[in-house]
Subunit: 487 residues, 2 copies
């Protein structure tokens, strides 16, 4: 009998966070040493000492390979993401071919692309064939068409059906988060029978916190949490202790709704059933965590107008492509604002102080509007804003805008007065600030509420729109008031 | 023996997403009906028909109470968050007192405050006493000092120690996510013994996916996943099948690192050990999901300069307080930019086109800089940016800025030329755009990298800083170049 201390370290065991960073540093060190040897040989302009170089190289490679073999696929993915392209491909070549599939699943989209581009079709087919249907469905959009067709042909009929089903759902549907690793039991057996049945497995699927109880037609009758299985007497029948009032999802439910349910009810797994309550799959918390994290990141990126996550070592041209659309849109809105100013060039010529003061009015309006919109978008996402709340929210935001306008607008009016010794200029400044903050408040409420009403995502583009309105609006209000009252 | 269909719907069972929204609507309907009755009696200026009113009222209240009793605490929390203050307190009064504690844990900070403000100290003590030590630690910062002291005195010694320990950790440390619901076993017993031991529980703690194997000194020897327990023969000894190479956390580890580990290794729970490997607690995936969600939200709010989540029904004055700091900071940076323009008023007087064109240069610089900074902050957060990557990243961002500058700057130069029939003005416009984009790129890389080096969070305030630089910088570059070359 082996003692715990003698147990060899298992592959695939997760390591502590620091270990991963250590590994990254070790890999980088090995790569750097390797580079140094090559440089040395090269720089001294000697005939390449093939023998020595090869020896050193082989030693480093063996060390690297050994390290990589002992690592969790997610850790290898982390290291691949942190390496520049040439070193990344070098490390990728050293990874055992049978682990390619699971690692491709873990890396970010941008890095996955760079790896797939450098793999032969046969390698890709081999990698894809190691995956489950639901994993394959995640990878499929990135695979060349030919590879996907080859893989599809090689699958057994059942898995082919699963893959077809998994690929048929929208990216933001529960079906896309679902896997097919359910352990099912019947309700008319005893827990003893269930326990014996489970012992016939080599291992249970990850995140098996409950067994699904189904009838002869595969309809879900209830769930049997392992906790319930373990605390009850073996002679109890499943039907007696199973839970029947359990949360079920449907494949076309929104993934976000599933994520909220997992978060709210602290779930580890949930059954997915079709319209006839037939069990078709399950969603596990790890898929939900990945989804939540991905959404949060997508929001952050979208807010800065980045189409997708960037591989920080990607070529410059890829980055330009990732960022151009946003800059173009902003250029258009900036141009419109510029034309608004252009219309008042006569006024600015007469009173040049206007040019210095106008960006303040526009800028503060944009900031206040973004605060309002962030708050409303969040409340909408949480489902806390009923369509009839519009009037109430407008009233409140107007209140906030009025207080801020009087406060900050008043202060800036005084400063403008003091700077340019012109009380009327100060008064116009204050009035323009108040008005632009009111514009910001109303647009900040109305844009997301309208987007919601017409069934669009209230988060997307809201920030660009409000900045466009408060910029052009701010210039128009300030320069317009100045033209009327000062000139 | 009861059949599943006969099982009464259990309280606390999670409902489907739509059910929750239905419940919210039902509650609102009941409240509205109640309000209508009151209005009717009031408007007709009749002597209050106390009897009728009371009857209707009682019926509504009974219906509401029944609905609430059947709901999951997280769903009640959702409903409380979606109701304006007066109705929220009405519903809160109807919730059974023994459920107050678990619901207070679920509501958002802003709403929790509004509820606690309206509870008597004795109610608060009663609510707090229903909670576990780790839950109590989460609630503690919001409780009045006196209440906390009372609760503390009422706890048994062991729990008092747990509470003290849970409250001693930073909010962003593993210790703050930790709970104390571990099931522990010894390594020298058989799985049969473990199974018999588990049957003595009424139920296992939530998220028990593994048992912790400890020695006589409470040192962690390994973990026994339920999956392993279930698939192995009952006569096997724990030591033979337990996993020893498992991820462990320490109470002072960063919560973010734990979150990354859970995400990367798909964990459901992880043991927390002290420096001597003594088992002190465990972290479960639900705490991690809440943490991830909370962090993502805090980031979103911080980006718009909201100090904290707002209760959308909070009084105007609370909102003003939540938002004022950001507006003040932006006012200062806008004022600085305004003074830069002020310094060039002479130039603008001579060539008023400058006033119309300058916001474009500043705006596009700000957008491009925010793209760079978002990308770098993200890469730093993922741990993919080594401090020595600065030069490499700068080079890349300069490349992107140069391409964008030539492209968009060139286009705008042509437009300026066409609008104002002044080729030199167009050339200055193009040059200013290129230069400001280069400034944006370098500041976009250097700000987060520097913040990281001095050990500050690179995400906070980075966006304000870069906008300040690109605004003032853009005006300075454009107006400066124009003054030198055009006047």
């Amino acid at each position: 009998m082996s003692q715990p201390a003698d147990t060899p370290p298992e592959r695939d065991e997760p390591h502590h966070q620091d270990d991963v960073k250590d590994s990254l540093r070790a890999v980088q060190l090995l790569l750097a040493r390797q580079r140094r040897v090559e440089n040395l040989v090269h720089r001294q302009d000697m005939p390449r000492h093939d023998l020595v170089e090869n020896l050193v190289h082989k030693q480093h490679v063996a060390e690297l390979r050994q390290r990589l073999d002992a690592m969790h696929p997610a850790d290898i993915a982390y290291i691949l993401e942190a390496l520049p392209l040439d070193e990344r491909l070098l490390v990728w070549d050293l990874v055992k071919a049978e682990r390619d599939g699971e690692i491709l699943l873990e890396v970010s989209d941008a890095v996955r692309e760079s790896l797939i581009e450098n793999m032969a079709p046969s390698e890709l087919v081999a990698a894809a064939e190691q995956l489950d249907a639901d994993e394959l469905a995640d990878l499929a959009p990135d695979l060349p068409q030919g590879v996907l067709a080859d893989v599809f042909r090689s699958l057994p009929a059942e898995e082919r059906e699963e893959l077809r089903s998994a690929m048929s759902y929208e990216e933001d549907a529960v079906g896309a988060l679902m896997d097919f690793d359910m352990v099912t039991v019947r309700e008319d057996v005893t827990l003893e029978v269930v326990l014996r049945y489970l012992r016939r497995f080599d291992e249970l699927p990850d995140h098996t916190d409950q067994l699904f109880v189904i009838d002869r037609d595969e309809r879900l009758r209830g769930v049997l949490p392992l906790n319930v299985l373990l605390v009850n007497a073996p002679e109890t029948e499943v039907a007696v202790v199973m839970l029947t009032e359990t949360l079920t999802l449907e494949p076309n439910d929104k993934a976000e709704a599933a994520a909220q349910a997992f978060e709210r009810y602290d779930l580890v797994s949930a059954p997915v059933v079709d319209a006839e309550r037939k069990l078709v799959g399950r969603v596990t918390v790890n898929a939900v965590v990945d989804y939540i994290r991905g959404e949060a990141e997508a929001d952050q990126l979208a807010q800065a107008g980045l189409k997708e996550e960037e591989d920080i070592f990607a070529p410059v041209i890829d980055s330009v492509k990732n960022r151009w659309a946003w800059l173009a849109i902003n250029l258009v809105t900036a141009f419109v604002a510029s034309r608004v100013i252009g219309a008042f060039e006569g006024s600015i010529e007469k009173l040049v102080a206007l040019a210095a003061l106008m960006p303040i009015v526009a800028g503060i309006g944009g900031n206040a509007g973004n605060q309002t919109i962030t708050m409303i978008v969040r409340a909408i996402a949480m489902g806390q804003v009923q369509p009839d709340a519009e009037r109430r929210l407008l009233k409140k935001e107007f209140g906030v805008a009025l207080i801020n306008g009087v406060l900050w607008g008043g202060l800036l009016g005084l400063i403008a007065w003091w700077l340019y010794s012109d009380a009327r200029l100060g008064a116009v400044m204050t009035a323009a600030m108040i008005l632009n903050l009111l514009v910001a408040a109303s647009v900040g409420v109305l844009i997301p509420m309208t987007l919601q009403k017409i069934g669009r995502d209230p988060a997307i583009g809201a920030s660009v729109m409000i900045t466009a309105v408060t910029d052009s609006g701010g210039f128009l209000i300030f320069l317009g008031l100045a033209t009327i009252f000062l000139l």
